[in-house]
């Protein structure tokens, strides 16, 4: 008798199995999937690399070619969305994409190369043009004086300024 009751219950519930690999499936509203860098917006500031717990995003300079490389390796990403929280220009966003499986590990990389500006005094590449523009737009005009100097030259200039006043 118990078995018959079970059959009636199973019939009333019906099929619960999803048809997933043959039919698409919807993900929840705030699902955190694959992070994607918007290349047009990214300024190469390195805030995401600073926040990333497993260092899946690494930002480093190639001084010989004069580029800054933003390197995202999805294989190590833990989908915590901290990069999305700290990005000042909202360039990195977590999409709802979860179908990331691939037979080749090289497919899991995203690389963004941004051109570096050169220091006006010593000629060393030090920061991306986009980052400099972002900084210049966010400070008042009279504070943009030493924007094109690399950190070392700027330190020198500031110490001279502190010592001798406004003398140039």
């Amino acid at each position: 008798m118990g078995r018959l009751k079970l059959i009636s219950k199973a019939l009333s519930i019906g099929k619960v199995t999803e048809k997933y690999p043959f039919a698409p499936i919807e993900v929840p509203e705030d699902y955190r999937g694959k992070p994607v860098i918007n290349e047009e917006k990214c300024i190469g500031c390195g805030a995401c690399a600073n926040a990333c717990p497993p260092q899946a995003i690494q930002v480093y300079d190639d001084l010989e070619r004069g580029v800054r490389i933003v390197h995202l390796f999805l294989g190590r990403c833990i989908f915590c969305a901290r990069c999305q929280d700290v990005c000042p220009v909202e360039a990195i966003k977590l999409t709802k994409e979860f179908e990331l499986a691939t037979p080749n590990q090289d497919d899991l990389h995203q690389i963004v190369e941004l051109k570096l500006a050169r220091c006006s005094k010593c000629g060393k590449p030090f920061d991306t043009y986009r980052h400099l523009i972002h900084v210049a737009e966010n400070v008042p005009p009279w504070e943009r004086g030493s924007l094109l100097l690399c950190p070392e030259c700027r330190r020198e200039k500031t110490s001279e300024w502190r010592l001798w006043g406004c003398k140039r």
Binding site: P21, V27, V67, E99, L100, D106, A136, P141, W164, C166
Partner: protein, 187 residues
Amino acid sequence: MIKKSLWVFHLNSGSCNGCDIEVLNIFAPRNDVERLGIKLVGSPRHADAIAFTGPITRECFPKVVDALTAVPDPKVVLAIGACACGGGIWYDTYSVIGGVKELYKILREEYNIEPPATVFIPGCPPKPEAIIYGVAVARGMLEKKQRKQVYIEPEESVAEEKARLESLLMEAEKTRHFIPKLEVRRV
């Protein structure tokens, strides 16, 4: 890689159990993968595929090699989770080898074993559907969607940015008299 039914041996190499729970989820009624002919087996000798989780701790490394060599050819490794794919948050820790890629390097150099075909399923942990997708890719049922993306900033946009920066600095040059003068205190 393998067209017929996959029998899977679940190998935990120091995982936190998150991925293991997701692996068990795909055998539950909601994502019942036995309809695709996939079955968990208790011994690597009976298996076609290894569901590989964890970053491979040093302690379990010899056991992992034993289990990998016990699986008959042709075999597939499903590297499930961030730890197995690239080391996860332990990728450079001293007590951990750091993902199947590093494991294969050691297998090639020290054991002279050619590593098996591998499907990488990133996620921490991956959704059960993501694991099913990885299995479908391994069996050739679906095409992979993921591609490597490389963006190199084009010359035109660099020139545009240079002009924009120069105009901003020109603005600064016009307003340079607003710079507050520092009073030099003589001692």
